[in-house]
Symmetry: C2
Subunit: 321 residues, 2 copies
């Protein structure tokens, strides 16, 4: 298998014009492109998780706005449609903000390149948190698919593995949509990192057995005080990690840090359709949860390793406030 | 839908002779009987989870031994085959022990009746732990399907609901085999108890929101000191419950109490095939975990509500030692 190139994950083609996405809903069984010829289709791709992961959502939205500009569409309306696609990841709003003054394909591509470059830098910082033989656990997919290339939490695992510091990874399957079992396992296989998928509910048991040295995840929004919204189940891991004396690290680009949001209580949490959980019985399906800063050992961005108190240490990562 | 009668869940028919099981793997989509005409087929039904739940496994094994006796098979060999089907639930070994001196269909039916009767008594005791408006959370299926009728943890929910003490139930879907989403939701629908299925990893978030007043589960084996083996994920819930100040109650018949096993460290934990988690990537699949007694607010058997220290309070529930 080949390493995923950033423009394989999402790209803009002026001829068309169109935004082309690797459809993440069909991975790992099929590698199929989804072609979006207008902003409504890009927003639908975001809403239905053909493209997902906070940074990748931002990148797709940037390309979406550039697509609207190429088509001569109303840009304010295009921005409104894209902003309404998903509520939790701040990168979406950050990217639209970045594009407003210069909604060109060049600007969108630069934003994409910068985001992948941030991943490589934050991953190098995060690798410093690993020691030889580290057995890590991760949740959901904070890989190249989620960030437009290289990955944040998966990037940290890659950087640690390249330095000989990572022994193996336990991958939470991440219900209901199995981003861990489908996407993270696929990415780890690609780069040759030993891994095993587990049921989300088995993580506590693995910690109690002494099989987990650290936990690393991405983020969808980090509030000014360090409270972090991420895939449902991250908060569960954080509480379990504290109980077992295991550090939980968040790895995310500064585009995920939202200093305009004071605390996690101010982060809107997307409730998705119950049918993702059960098509037969009533269900509740919050897509994200909020992990209090007190349960996070460190937050890593491209700026460096931020330690508590986050109200002070995150200030240099300010990108959207 | 009709309340499940005990002989619909598992029964012995002398004409044949055969053991007939409601195939729990196909619920709730289809209600299909699985017919076993020899002990190997009964053991296979237990191994492949056509019948599951610690007390129901014991009952099926008892019928299996009676089937062997009716057929004139070697009973020592029949017992060996049944005992090798699954390792964690002590009820299996307890039931074989109970049947050894009198391997008749009458004895097996009496054992089945007694187990359902225990469920009704423990459920009445457990209902005392509920207060008006209680919102409960449960994991896996400790319902009539798991006990041969009425249920243990689900029995407690039923008894509390009948007394006007239960408002609603959050049902962990219970990966990988979805016993909660398939079986518990189905049973709660049958008896009209309001419920919603959640991803296992969402339980912590529901606790943090204040939406869970207590947690109630069954058990597969309870050691003399109160350490309890149950479906993978129960230990996770127990740690999360402690963090949020929510009581976790275990409801199980005395046939699940194993005073010959000193602590949870001595309980064999079944590792099932990774393919239940992922058919594409490597996986680890422990089917059970052990919750330390210190995280359990009370254990309820047909004898009553047992409080810590369990080494003393469980002694009257001695049935297999």
């Amino acid at each position: 298998m080949q390493e995923l190139e950033p423009d394989r994950i999402v790209r803009l083609e002026e001829a068309g014009p169109r935004v082309v996405l690797l459809d993440q809903r069909r991975l790992p069984d099929e590698e199929v492109d989804l072609v979006c010829t207008n902003v409504a289709e890009v927003a639908e791709a975001i809403r239905t998780l053909a493209v997902r992961g906070a940074p990748a959502i931002g990148i797709a939205a940037a390309y979406g706005l550039a697509l609207a500009a190429l088509r001569g569409d109303d840009l304010a309306e295009a921005e409104r449609v894209l902003a309404a696609s998903r509520p939790t990841a701040v990168n979406l709003f950050w990217a639209l903000d970045q594009m407003r003054a210069d909604p060109t394909s060049e600007r969108a591509r630069a934003l994409h390149r910068e985001e992948v470059d941030r991943c490589r830098r934050m991953s190098a910082h995060a690798a410093e948190l690993f020691t030889p033989g580290t057995r890590a656990l991760t949740h959901c997919n904070a890989g190249g698919l989620a960030t437009g290339g290289y990955g944040s939490a998966v990037g940290a695992l890659r950087a640690a593995f390249e330095r000989g510091l990572l022994a193996s990874v336990l991958v939470d399957e991440t219900r209901p949509l199995l981003q861990g079992a489908r996407l993270t396992a696929w990415e780890l296989e690609t780069v040759g990192i030993p891994h095993a998928v587990i049921a989300d509910s088995a993580a506590a048991s693995m910690m109690a057995r002494g099989d987990v040295d650290l936990i690393v995840t991405g983020a969808d929004r980090i509030a000014a005080n360090g409270d972090t919204a991420n895939k449902i189940g991250t908060y569960s891991l954080a509480v379990l990690a504290q109980h077992h004396g295991i550090p939980l690290y968040i790895v995310a680009p500064s585009s995920t840090v939202d200093l305009a949001t004071a605390t996690g209580a101010d982060i809107p949490i997307e409730e998705r359709e119950g049918a993702e959980i059960s098509t037969r019985f009533a269900a509740r399906n919050p897509a994200f949860d909020v992990t209090p800063a007190a349960l996070i050992a460190a937050i890593v961005t491209e700026v460096g390793v931020h330690r508590p108190p986050y109200a002070e240490s995150l200030a240099p990562a300010r990108t959207f406030a």
